[in-house]
């Protein structure tokens, strides 16, 4: 099995900072939401043209160790992906084929639908 890494699709990022906040929550063992503790930082362009999430983390010591990291779970657009390269390409291909069948998706820009391999549950991903 290949090593899992963080992949950032910055064209999907909407700059909401959910990842930042939940990262700090996880690293402080749930004590507080504090962006200065976070290992993720979204660099926002002051004119609003681009958001660049920067991740300085190996998902060790995360609240969700052994499962999907909490930042990836909470990302609403799917801009943060934690997987290996082979899996990434496989799933992206699946998504493209799925989109091809639905005319609506042709109209909507790629960011309009999140990477669809995450399911929500009360216990977490």
């Amino acid at each position: 099995m290949q090593k899992k890494i963080f992949i950032v699709a910055n064209e999907l990022c909407n700059g909401c900072r959910n990842c930042e906040m939940w990262c700090s929550f996880s690293l402080s063992q749930g004590a507080e939401f504090n962006p200065s503790l976070s290992k993720i930082k979204i660099v926002k362009d002051p004119e609003g043209k681009v958001n660049i999430p920067t991740v300085d983390c190996s998902a060790k010591g995360c609240l969700q160790e052994g499962r999907e990291p909490i930042c990836v779970e909470m990302c609403p657009t799917g801009a943060l992906i934690y997987t290996d390269i082979v899996d990434l390409y496989k799933k992206r291909l699946e998504l493209q084929q799925k989109r091809g069948k639905q005319p609506l998706f042709r109209l909507i820009a790629p960011w309009k639908y999140p990477y669809p391999w995450r399911e929500w549950s009360e216990e977490g991903a």
């Binding site: 909407n14 959910n18 549950s121």
Partner: protein, 639 residues
């Protein structure tokens, strides 16, 4: 306190040029939570009925709540002041500003007094500075934002500022936060009067959570309810992805547009959401921790006359608003949005005032001589944008319109009042009234003039999304029936109370879809888990009731009465001819008769305040008349 709240109010006195820190009384938080609730309380206690809105005594309050800074808050801030028309000037905005304020360690910022020269306020953690802003005055909101960013050099700083409209005291100017998050109709005018150009905030602290596991569990449940794959709410996917694409069609097809100053209900070839998606939207850009992937979007006009315009938007209200001038093209709508945001002018106020002027022009009440030669006919986009620019710069006829349509009608005379679309002196907004009775009643009784964010959403929940064990005061099917006055009183009362308490947490009213909109228990769990308060559902909704009562007591003290709770004459008397929708007529009175008895008697509410007086810790910086005893007229009011 410790959890949730920071327990600090920052009072900035612009006359004396000083800032004071003050403790947030625990009693207040228990009774009013925060945000809109405590804002209303501060306004009630400190801005008495004798205070002129344009004077030192008026205050401008920026409020956050216990959940601000956690992902539940969605960055909402409530801005409140005494509106130039005497009612409550309140508006919520999103963005990242409020979260930064919380991280800097403050729950509330209260601006008092008035500066002689333009200033701006810098809050960098506990460093608070009033800086000179002569170089910012006269610049638009985006320029102000960038200049402040450059000269402070602080990364991640968030700016709340006013544009030229606020500086020139145009009625209903708004406050614009970084990246075009806007809010607070009328607050920008007061901010301009105080000569406060901007408030820049950056914080590096955090928000503590009492019960992390419970909080995470409740948050996951909330996100599951907003999951788009199982969305039972018809508008959720639309808001999340397609920029309210369906909304434009629904409005046009049902005849809900206020087209041609509400003379008609639809426009042929009205704006299409598909075109907007394909041509103008470039990428998503949302508020702080918004759970919806693309609730906010960035638009760009790439070709044509208005090429080069870009900006952010969250609601298509601006696009629905241009129907009033009979316009139906996206470039004009986006140019309109851009002009309003740069100048900090409220879109609804601007569009509805121009719509009124256009009808007066077509009916011959005003002529080319009055309008300085602008051909104000319906559908003339050139004239629309030209007169908008004149309003912002207050030249010629623009100066008349900049005072608001009610004042302008008084100036013009000749029966121009007949075409007004105002409630409590403020311009209507896009919510349909003849088509949706719940909207008609809710807008009529609103304490801050027409405002749809106080009772959103107007459409019924899917019956599947209503939990079986949920006690409801109204019948959800009957109450949401669009053209029947039945059960509307209890529905509107419940909508107002529940939204008041949720805006005090704060959270965003635009995620109140499906179960989340009708069941408050997920929000209550989050509130309890974050703050450690043991609040029950009954108490939670009572807090909302208390807030609405307080706001109502405020406007009653200002002299507003039942006769002011009405809708424009056109809605009462004239039908929508192109969709055969009859006027509201007598039904409004029967809905109001239904609504008032649901409110608790005013006397009881005043008892609540007596308790608070004893716990009021600070001595106000400016002497004010103080909380008044209820006037005889107020107590005899039928509420």
């Amino acid at each position: 306190m410790g959890f949730g709240w920071k327990g600090k109010i920052l009072r900035v006195d612009l006359t004396e040029r000083r800032a004071l820190e003050e403790d947030l009384p625990e009693e207040w938080t228990r009774k009013y939570i925060g945000g809109r609730g405590i804002n209303a309380l501060i306004l009630y206690k400190e801005v008495g009925p004798g205070v002129d809105p344009f004077s030192q005594g008026n205050k401008l309050i920026f409020g956050t709540g216990p959940l601000e800074g956690t992902p539940v808050s969605m960055g909402r801030v409530s801005v409140q002041t005494k509106h130039p028309r005497g009612c409550i000037g309140e508006g919520g905005a999103g963005g990242h500003w409020a979260a930064e304020l919380k991280f800097a360690g403050y729950d509330f910022v209260v601006i008092e007094g008035r500066s002689e020269v333009p200033v701006y306020l810098l809050i960098d953690d506990d460093h608070v500075e009033i800086r000179d802003a002569a170089h910012l005055w006269g610049k638009d909101t985006r320029e102000k934002d960038l200049i402040i960013r450059d000269e402070t050099g602080i990364q991640g700083i968030q700016v709340a500022c006013i544009g030229q409209a606020g500086e020139r005291l145009v009625a209903d100017a708004k406050v614009v936060f970084t990246l075009d998050h806007t809010g607070g109709r009328g607050c920008g005018t007061i901010m301009g009067d105080k000569k406060l150009a901007a408030i820049a905030v950056r914080g590096s602290g955090g928000v503590s959570v009492k019960d992390p596991e419970g909080f995470l569990r409740s948050y996951r449940r909330m996100r599951k309810l907003l999951d788009l794959k199982e969305a039972t709410d018809p508008f959720l996917p639309g808001f999340a992805f397609m920029s309210a694409n369906q909304l434009l069609q629904v409005f046009n097809e049902n005849g809900w547009l206020h087209a041609y100053n509400a003379q008609r209900g639809s426009i042929e070839d009205f704006l299409s959401g598909e075109e907007y998606l394909a041509e103008y939207i470039t990428r998503p850009e949302t508020s702080f921790c918004c759970p919806l992937p693309a609730c906010g979007r960035r638009f760009e006009v790439r070709r044509g006359r208005y090429a080069g315009i870009s900006g952010d938007e969250r609601e298509v209200g601006f696009a629905l608003a241009i129907a009033i001038a009979g316009l139906n093209s996206w470039p004009v709508a986006l140019k309109f949005r851009d002009l309003c945001n740069r100048a900090g002018l409220d879109e609804f106020q601007a569009a509805y005032t121009i719509g009124w002027a256009m009808e007066c022009y077509e009916k011959g009440i005003i002529t080319g001589k009055d309008t300085d030669g602008v051909d104000l006919r319906f559908g003339n986009e050139e004239a629309f944008l030209q007169i908008l620019q004149k309003m912002i710069s207050r030249e010629g006829f623009g100066d008349v319109l900049a005072r608001g349509s009610q004042e302008a009608a008084r100036t013009v005379g000749k029966g121009a009042e007949r075409f007004l679309l105002t409630i409590k002196g403020r311009e209507l907004e896009v919510m349909p009234q003849r088509g949706l009775y719940q909207a008609a009643l809710a807008l009529a009784v609103c304490e801050s003039g027409p405002d749809h964010t106080r009772w959103y959403p107007p459409y019924p929940p899917n019956p599947k999304t209503i939990p079986e064990d949920l006690p409801l005061q109204f019948d959800p099917v009957k109450a949401f029936k669009s053209r029947s006055p039945e059960d509307k009183g209890r529905l509107v009362k419940w909508l107002y109370d529940s939204r008041a308490v949720l805006e005090s947490l704060p959270t965003c009213i635009f995620v109140l879809r499906g179960t989340l909109g009708i069941d408050l228990r997920p929000w209550l769990d989050l509130y309890n888990a974050c703050t450690g308060v043991d609040c029950t559902l009954d108490e939670f909704i009572r807090i909302g009731e208390r807030i609405v009562n307080l706001e109502r007591a405020y406007i009653v003290r200002e002299g507003f009465r039942r006769k002011d709770d009405t809708v424009p004459r056109r809605m009462l008397e004239e039908p929508i001819p192109d969709r055969y929708i009859p006027p509201i007529g007598e039904d409004l009175e029967s809905m109001l008769d239904d609504y008032y008895p649901t409110l608790t008697p005013l006397q009881q509410k005043y008892k609540d305040f007596k308790v608070l007086e004893a716990h009021h810790p600070h001595v106000p910086l400016h002497p004010h008349p103080g909380p008044q005893a209820p006037s005889p007229a107020a107590s005899s009011l039928r509420l």
